[in-house]
Amino acid sequence: MTTTIGAPLNRIDARLKVTGAARYSAEMPVKNVAHAVLIQSTIANGRIADIDTAAAEQSPGVLLVMTHRNAPKLGGKQKSVQQPGEDYPLLQDDAIHYNGQHIGVLVAETFEAATHAARLVTVRYDEDKSVVRLGQVLDKLAVPQHFRGGARLPDSSRGNPDQEFVAAPVKIDQTYQTPIEHHNPLEPHAVIAVWTGDELVVFHSSQSVAGSHKTIAGHLGISDDKVRTVSHFIGGGFGSKGSTWPHVTIAAMAARIVNRPVKLVLTRRQMYTSNGFRPQTRQHLRLGADRDGRLIALRHDSLSHTASFGEWVEPCGLSTEIMYSCPNLGVSHRVAPTDTGIPTFMRAPGEASGMFALESAMDELAEALAIDPLELRLRNYAEQDEHEKLPWSSKSLKQCYERGAAAFGWNKRERQPGSMRNGDLFVGWGMASATYPMNRSKASATVRLQADGRAIVQCATQDIGTGTYTIIAQVAADAIGLPVERVTVQIGDSNFPEAPVSGGSQTAASVTPAVDAASRDIRKQLVDLATTGSFKGLRSEDLDVVDGAVVVKSDPSRRAEIGTLLAGRDALTATKGAEPGDEKKQFSMHSFGAHFVEVHVDPELGEVRVARYVGAFAAGRVLNAKTARSQIIGGIVYGLGMALTEETDLDHRSGRVLNGNIAEYLVPVHADVPDIEVILIEEQDPHVNPLGVKGMGELPMVGVAGAVANAVFHATGKRIRYLPIRPDKLLRTA
């Protein structure tokens, strides 16, 4: 039997995408649509004293100007399903919590008419003082109340880290900082809200159709089953589309009032104030080691900021709990409110930021001890999860180190910083580890096998660009025994069986077991049917499904086509759920990887160019070698942006985002990205889930910034502890 799982199959939706036939949310063919444009605050803190909408209302084509004064009252449930602890501003009152908050929406016949009229609304504010930077609220830090939605503790410790740190013969004691960053998916957030009677269909770019319809229903105070969310194609989300942000509900509110479908697409500038961000962090790392480099004590104390109206914490220290072997370890998280929007999940939230700090500190320790950085990590290799005190379900980090180092040629590295050259440029080689937890949630799927021999899989998951369509088809094809071309995948619709948010790299691990279970059930039904029909007298064990037909194992020339077997029936269907059991009580489940990077630094001008990159990763079973590789490359590029260029500039007085566009918010361009060599190490892990997959979306981004910072240090002897590493920081650092 042919297996397609693992094969480097092209995306099954590739043709639709490259021909433009794939419809993204704003492109859904909805008739009679009216266009909405948001009005946002221009101060960070205070109240709306007066809002004058008269000119806008008179403007040609305007159907509605909705502000807190005339917006329908929502009955108080302003929370998001995905982000507990948060109260969204949904035009319910005159309070301003941050600069760029929605304060109104304007609906008109055309986008242009709406855009123009929105500018005619004038607002007078009673402005209060505002604080918008972490550095301004260090006196307001507090223990988080909703850390990880209650799933983890903000503080943890083992042994006696404080005392042992003091006693340690070798110490690193440094603070690392990361700036505000924005996700910047290429496709903007977009909604079309369509009411039919009391039922609402919302087309919107969402990483969680199943969560979204509940959030919207909660906001509107109607029952879940009255709301359907559809999101067939998503042009990236990176966490920004995991929650259902206020503009979605606002579009639905407006559509109900104008009694027409309403389309609302955020502008790029609005995407810097409407859908979360990675908050600024300050991380204090203390590493104490013996003279051989073995960690004796480790503390990772992180600060980040959140909004005044809700708590979201960047969980920087969680990777530290498990990354290295260390008997005395402490982690803490503190948070303080600023007059900013609320932060959110951004690709590897906590891991990407936290591992920048930990992996930089490890490099500083290696330098202090004159030990090779890779050797230092091997000396501190964690043979088990010392936080949970559990064995790993699988861990191939050593192989990642070995194969990555070999491919890179790490053993030719001169240890002394500033000792390698390429012409006048200083060459630096840096490395870092990567880790990401295996997350899995309950999911279900329906499979329908039709008499024409095609299978349709339905599941309320979504493909955020990672390849979910394709891996579902592969898993179903193998489990039923069909050629993959005969599988149609229907996802991105909350009417389908429930699946979790595409976040935490959990989609493959959660959804494919359900698809697999439903598909196996179909296969069984088919075989059972054969034992009562075409192959009466044979037992199920004697039969197999190969290439879309039931065959007799002992004589594969004896085949029965699906159409024949289903004679008279439309289809076979099966709906199955799959969920994690208590396996996490027995095993600790994480993916791991290793980054190796070469940078060239101009020592006088401070220019850093990444010249070479090797990343080796082990994340369980690889479902599709091509989409997995794409995920890894994408993650590394995302990490290069974090390392070298990305930072959201806020005016420190007004909280205004100053570089809210992709000309001035610098994501890497081609010239910033070298060839990236990807090494995938397959693991057989029977414990994580039935398919043995761990998830690939976020892992490769974790550690990139640390590896680059370490390479910059190796090139120049300058340690940059505050991302991004731009020329001015290198110039300022002695």
Partner: protein, 325 residues
Amino acid sequence: MYPFTYVRGDDRQAAVALAAEPGTEFLAGGTDMLQLLKDEVRRPRRLVEITSLSGMSEISSGPQGLRLGALARMADVADHPAVRDEYPVISQALLASASPQVRNMATIGGNLLQRTRCAYFRDTAMPCNRREPGSGCSAIDGENRLHAVLGGSDHCIATHASDLAVALVACDAVVVVTGPSGEQRIKLEDLHLLPGETPEKETVLQPGDLITAVEVPPLAFARRSLYRKVRDRASFEFALAAAAVALDIDGGTIRQARVALGGVGTKPWRSHEAEKALTGAKLETASFEKAAAAALAAARPLHQNGFKIILAQRTLIRALLTVGA
């Protein structure tokens, strides 16, 4: 975007006459203007599109030097053999600007008149003297890492963003202008104004003045010229600091030099001080260092952009070292 009327100019004089009326502006490639319109930083009542005006796109070179039509595209000028061979500094400055897509649309005239990237200027929610005279400068006490260290005033410190203008000003370029009162030739060095007390006045041009061409006089030693730009990412980004240099070398001595700086001035910054320091000096690092110090002697740092003083000096030294080698 504010509503405006749109006129396609197909006759130069008519276009000039239309543009002389209040509230009218030219539209060339639109790569800057469209953004400014969308952000309502500019609110013209009428736009006169000039890309179909004849005789303004040619690129020619001869004994009298180089002539670039104002509508010539950045990409075409960068690739022109005479530009590449005789004025490498111009070609390099263009290739270091924006992206291929932008360069395919954008024109030489539009490039010289592009507005500053100062974020406060481009956000109508923020005070800005240049956009709204008298409203205050948000940058002086605000986020000014990218702002100018040369030529600023208490009213404005916005960096002039063009790379091309820096290369051209080093080459003594002249701008040919047709206006309501006829044709005039303005030295590029005199085209842009320092902000002083009136940052809203960006150039000496009057309403209706149309740039038709840029002329670069013959400069034999421009064959030995170079543009070096330092920026926050490898491509598609404006300069933190840039240097345009040309050296006329006689054995081990510098006979003449041309120096201009980008990314650090409120206008394309010709440095006669650096040129003076280099004239007659030995071709050696010490001379370059003196010139760089002279070029930045008048620099005034703010709280975030002080690094530019050192960076600009080093960029200039690097450019001189490279071109002098």
